[in-house]
């Protein structure tokens, strides 16, 4: 009863978002929209740190569509001077900044029911979920893919664990705009395409394989 009551009070955009998950999803890699995203934050603590910017770009049918990209900056009271040198976002910079509520609405509308892809997804998803929680909203419903884990599905890479910089080097991806959310999202998108292509070469790759956390059996 309470949950029903609560549902009723969700903003319109969230209701629209929830509805999209009731439809049947396509089951092939080519027919799904992937949103590759990255967040820049004030730090690594889900509770106390805040999102400063979100950058994202979509892939459909193995094509990165620049016209379908996303880049926003957030106004946050929480601010730590020591992370500025990583992400370069000043508290009172020249960029147009949105409130966290506006930012979440825009982001939710942008992602829809697409598959979310990030390098070390867990962190970015948790940061978004924490922001949603502050707005009294539930967690994200999207399927997710971690390029770090996807990489481990490649032959001989099971036990490797690499950060984005190392993978860029391995896959020959130029590291422009590293540590801006949009720049990292773009780099991750290229990485995602390259890993996918390599996986396809190595085996008969199905859509569902992307979500299976393989390699763990071996670790256990």
């Amino acid at each position: 009863m309470i949950s029903w009551f609560k549902y009723k009070n969700y903003p319109h955009y969230w209701k629209q978002y929830s509805k999209k998950f009731k439809q049947k999803q396509p089951k092939s890699i080519e027919n799904n929209r992937f949103v590759i995203f990255d967040t820049e934050t004030t730090g690594l603590d889900f509770k106390n740190d805040r999102i400063l910017s979100i950058g994202a770009i979509s892939i459909f049918n193995n094509i990165i569509d620049v016209a379908d990209s996303f880049e926003i900056y957030l106004k946050q009271e929480e601010f730590k001077a020591d992370t500025v040198e990583i992400h370069g976002i000043l508290k009172e910079g020249k960029l147009t900044k949105l409130s966290e509520a506006e930012a979440m609405e825009k982001f939710i509308n942008y992602i829809g029911n697409s598959v979310l892809v990030a390098h070390h997804t867990a962190f970015d998803i948790e940061m978004i979920n924490a922001a949603l929680k502050r707005l009294d909203l539930p967690k994200l419903k999207n399927k997710t893919i971690d390029t770090g884990i996807l990489y481990k599905k490649l032959e001989g890479k099971k036990d490797n664990h690499f950060n984005l910089d190392a993978l860029c080097k391995e896959f020959n991806i130029p590291k422009n705009d590293r540590h801006t959310a949009a720049g990292d999202a773009f780099i991750t998108a290229l990485l995602f395409l390259k890993i996918l292509a390599t996986l396809k070469k190595q085996r008969n790759l199905h859509y569902s394989d992307l979500f299976r956390v393989s390699g763990q059996e071996g670790l256990l």
Binding site: V66, S69, L95, F186, K194
Partner: protein, 639 residues
């Protein structure tokens, strides 16, 4: 809103043509609509004969090879690397891909929407010029490098030159087009069209064009039963019509037709639909115009009254050649046209000279072009090499006859010299008594060369065997050819000597890495493209056709073509020889035009990586065909 990704793409594209001439806003619009694709090594972006994609491609990282399939072989035509554009022409010309694009290494591509580019054509004159340049190669260009960034190189030429390119000539439209009133029925209009034998009819109101009906409308709307033939023409006409002023250029017309997806433009008095219709310009008119230039020149040659007119026409021909090379029109087509014009000029020079003589030639004779002219491979203006053969006469008449032809030949060579074909320094001309001979004298001469093949004799053979009758009696030339084959038959070792000659220039590359350059002399450190790359192919083709007794093939490419049929087991090799020869001929012509010389010596330092790669690609077949000769004629023993 900040768009970091689009900014990065913008920063990349702005370094490369044609993006470098775009306004900031225009380029940013393109950048923010780019689609990024990743192509694995050996995967195709598109394949030959496929319908065009909605995008053309810019290489961001990696390298894309463009391949043209010939029979079962994929021939690498071009390699596009960072910043190069490919796959644009088919989009603009609504044509299939002429080549396949395959990743030679893993590549990231930016796909750019052609629709956005089309919008920009309208507002950006420089881009428009670039497109004009790319349109001009609308004759299919299988071997031209028509798709990489160099396509844009000719913008400046188009801007500075105001002659000889059809693209910037005013389009010649059909005056007094067939018209009817809007009160006519479709049937009436169709009757007018068939009686006047036209494919389109304009609907006018007070002399102003309001619509057009074409054959296509009749086909798609009437023949299908969609509309009755008794309905008014207004039912099926396309309206409004696109109107232009009289001085619309061919390029503007082409762009307008492509942009509006139409095939006819109306020419009105002030260029608006509200003024008097004075003509119609169809797609067909443009096609005709493209092909028309050389034939117009030949017509002018035929009408020429003196040698100065010929000189003027030959100068025009050089412009035409320059234009063709810039436009990447296939070299085979170019050499055909230039040879035709050169021949027409020579014929006219002979005719003018005969008129100047006191009397008509006493007996039948033939004027022969020799060497590269004879093979129709001469594009640039070089020396004249020619000879004359006349019918056998009674001994007492020999001297006066010979004197007549020597005098005639002198007049002809003088005229050719004025036109721009310089005298042959070795005096290999019909005005030389040694090369102005009767048929039996020629037969003896050839027989002598063949049976005592000294080095000089072999050299003479390589020049004189490539003759082509320009003017005069065919039978005389057949007689000459027959005697050559007879002599060879009775003295087959001659072919081995010819073979040794063909191998005197080793394959031009040391292990495919280094070019062999001249060691001394005026052309030190230059690569002699004629003797090191082209002559080995010319010599090989000549030798092989002689050995098969093929008579009427005097051109290197047609010789190799014939050989593919006679020796199907070596078909692939001969086809690759053809490709190499085409590319080398085009290359030499380009070099010659660029440096205003014969193009023979190439300064390797001035070549781009791409040009070097392309040249090197030509050398493998040379090596292979030389090996074949070596084995076939057992030349190792003779060397």
């Amino acid at each position: 809103m900040k768009n970091t990704i689009a900014e990065r793409i913008y920063d990349f594209l702005k370094n490369f043509p044609p993006f470098d001439v775009l306004d900031k806003d225009q380029l940013f619009k393109i950048a923010s609509n780019v689609k990024v694709t990743y192509v694995e090594k050996d995967n195709f972006v598109f394949k030959q004969e496929e319908s065009p994609h909605e995008h053309f491609y810019v290489v961001k990282d990696g390298a894309i090879g463009l391949y043209r399939g010939m029979d079962n072989e994929q021939i690498l035509v071009d390699i596009c690397d960072e910043g190069d554009i490919f796959g644009l022409r088919p989009l603009i010309q609504n044509d299939l891909y002429l080549m396949s694009a395959k990743a030679n290494e893993e590549s990231v591509l930016y796909a750019v929407s052609v629709e956005i580019l089309k919008e920009i054509i309208e507002t950006n004159d420089k881009v428009k010029k670039f497109l004009i340049a790319s349109f001009s190669s609308n004759i299919k260009t299988p071997y031209a490098k028509g798709t990489n960034g160099q396509l844009f190189a000719n913008i400046e030429i188009l801007q500075t030159s105001n002659t000889s390119f059809t693209e910037i000539q005013s389009a010649e439209f059909t005056k007094n087009p067939v018209t009817t009133l809007k009160t006519s029925t479709i049937k009436e209009a169709a009757q007018i069209m068939s009686s006047k034998r036209v494919g389109s009819i304009l609907i006018v109101e007070k002399n102003n064009p309001i619509g057009i009906i074409t054959d296509k409308d009749l086909r798609s709307k009437i023949a299908t039963g969609m509309v009755s033939i008794d309905e008014s023409v207004t039912k099926i006409m396309s309206s409004p019509v696109k109107t232009y002023k009289q001085k619309i250029t061919v390029a503007e017309a082409q762009i307008s037709m492509i942009k509006n997806k139409i095939t006819h433009l109306c020419i009105t008095k002030d260029g608006t639909p509200n003024s008097k219709l004075i003509g119609v310009l169809s797609e067909h008119d443009i096609v005709v115009m493209h092909g028309n230039n050389p034939s117009l020149l030949i017509k002018k040659v035929n009408r020429a009254k003196d040698v100065n007119a010929l000189k003027y026409i030959r100068e025009k021909t050089s412009n035409l050649l320059l234009g063709y090379i810039e436009q990447n029109i296939p070299i085979i087509f170019i050499s055909k046209i230039i040879s035709e014009i050169n021949e027409a000029i020579t014929i006219k020079a002979i005719e003018l000279s005969i008129e100047e003589m006191d009397k008509q030639p006493p007996v039948k004779f033939g004027w022969l072009a020799l060497g590269s002219q004879g093979r129709k491979e001469q594009l640039l203006m070089t020396d004249q090499d020619n000879a004359l053969v006349f019918e056998d006469v009674a001994p007492e008449k020999y001297q006066p006859t010979k004197q007549y032809f020597l005098q005639l030949a002198k007049k002809v060579t003088e005229k050719l010299n004025i036109v721009g074909f310089e005298y042959c320094p070795a005096n290999m001309m019909a005005s030389n008594p040694n090369w102005c001979l009767s048929l039996s004298e020629w037969k003896n001469q050839f027989s002598h060369w063949i049976k005592s093949p000294s080095e000089d004799a072999i050299m003479m053979c390589t020049i004189f065997f490539d003759y082509n009758l320009v003017f005069g009696d065919k039978k005389l030339v057949y007689g000459m050819s027959d005697s050559i084959y007879e002599s060879i038959k009775s003295f087959e070792i001659f072919l081995n000597f010819l073979g040794r000659n063909a191998l005197r220039n080793p394959p031009p590359i040391g292990f495919f890495r280094q070019f062999l350059v001249e060691n001394d002399g005026a052309h030190k450190d230059h690569f002699d493209i004629k003797s090191r790359a082209m002559m080995p192919l010319v010599d090989a083709a000549r030798l092989l056709t002689l050995s098969h007794q093929i008579k009427d093939k005097n051109n290197t490419i047609s010789r190799f073509k014939k050989l593919t049929k006679i020796e199907p087991q070596n078909k692939d090799l001969y086809l690759s020889c053809i490709d190499s020869f085409r590319i080398l001929l085009q290359f030499r012509t380009q070099q010659g035009l660029k440096n205003n010389d014969t193009g023979r010596y190439v300064d390797l330092n001035n070549l781009s990586k791409f040009e070097k790669l392309k040249l090197k690609g030509c050398f493998k077949p040379i090596k292979d065909v030389q090996e074949l000769l070596n084995i076939r004629y057992n030349l190792a023993q003779m060397m």
